[in-house]
């Protein structure tokens, strides 16, 4: 079973990297970009075939390591 975890900064947390990318896109003349926030994607292969079990496991992985929940949100997708 494969899963994708997406970790993003919470709203309101300053994201200087996103700001720099946003500035670069604008300077390249790509019109219509209002703002950019940078995040992380983790593609994870799981040995289990049980969806419920996978969700529990991935939540634990996010809470324990993949996201710093002080400043980050996470989203789990089983693909």
């Amino acid at each position: 079973m494969k899963a994708r975890v997406t970790v993003t900064l919470k709203t309101g947390v300053l994201d200087p990297q996103g700001k720099a990318i946003e500035g670069a896109l604008k300077s390249f003349g790509i019109a219509g970009v209002d703002s950019v926030r940078q995040g992380k994607v983790f593609d994870i292969e799981l040995s289990t075939q049980d969806r419920a079990q996978a969700e529990v496991l991935l939540k634990a992985a996010c809470e324990k390591l993949l996201a710093n929940t002080v400043v980050e949100n996470y989203r789990v997708e089983i693909v």
Binding site: V13, L14, P16, A20, L65, N68, V70, V71
Partner: protein
């Protein structure tokens, strides 16, 4: 004072930490490998040194904060034992749940390596009693992720409980503005745990203990610890 320095893969300031502790205590501190599950018997102080543990992968200090030795460090802190995290060590303490908040990327995205003035917020803690309150000290900073952030409630609690240890200031002691190198909330350079037995700080006092390298303002912190 029995001090130990924890070594993670990618730590690189452990030598400076050992030297500063040895100068203050007269004894060479033991180096403890991150995969150990116990601290040496009779440990008074655990120092988490600067560097780039695990290559700063994922987030600075994230993997080291969950290393095997950190359970022992958390237990040591819970018993009232002293813990000092410098630079990457501060990031590890935040990621490891020993201190609140997080160190984010510097606001201008640059790695900053320079001398920096700090204001000592209080001189009644085990880490700062060799200083005086509001003393201005000059130490080094060297970090890319030193921008201290926490939610509003946490900042309020830290301020209200007097848990800010050091603030960035200029040579005249003026806090904030251009003196803040990295965008830290309230110009915070270091914070204490609620019982003030854990200190995390981005600047490097261990590098300013010898006149040969431009000052000895960092020595006070290690002298404070020895008076324990």
């Amino acid at each position: 004072m029995k001090a130990v320095v924890v070594l993670f893969p990618g730590s690189n300031r452990e030598g400076d930490a050992v030297r500063a502790l040895e100068m203050a205590t007269g004894k060479k501190p033991q180096i403890v490998w991150h995969a150990e599950t116990e601290l040496p018997a009779g440990t008074d102080l655990v120092l988490l040194p600067g560097g780039f543990s695990y290559g700063d992968y994922l987030r600075c200090g994230a993997i080291a904060g969950r290393a095997a030795i950190m359970d022992a460090v958390r237990a040591h802190a819970a018993r009232g034992g002293l813990v000092l995290g410098i630079c990457n060590g501060f990031q590890i303490l935040c990621e490891g749940g020993l201190l609140p908040g997080v160190l984010m990327r510097n606001k201008d995205l640059r790695f900053i390596c320079k001398m920096q003035h700090l204001r000592v917020e209080r001189a009644d803690t085990v880490f700062t009693r060799a200083y005086s309150k509001n003393q201005i000290i000059k130490v080094a900073i060297a970090h890319g992720e030193g921008n201290y952030e926490a939610d509003e409630e946490t900042i309020k609690r830290l301020e209200g409980d007097g848990r800010v240890a050091f603030r960035y200031c200029d040579a005249q002691g003026v806090v904030g503005g251009f003196a803040n190198p990295n965008g830290s909330t309230n110009d915070i350079a270091g914070i204490y745990s609620d019982k003030r037995n854990v200190l995390g700080m981005m600047p490097h006092p261990e590098n300013l203990i010898d006149p040969l390298v431009g000052g000895i303002d960092g020595a006070g912190l290690f002298k404070s610890l020895v008076a324990a």
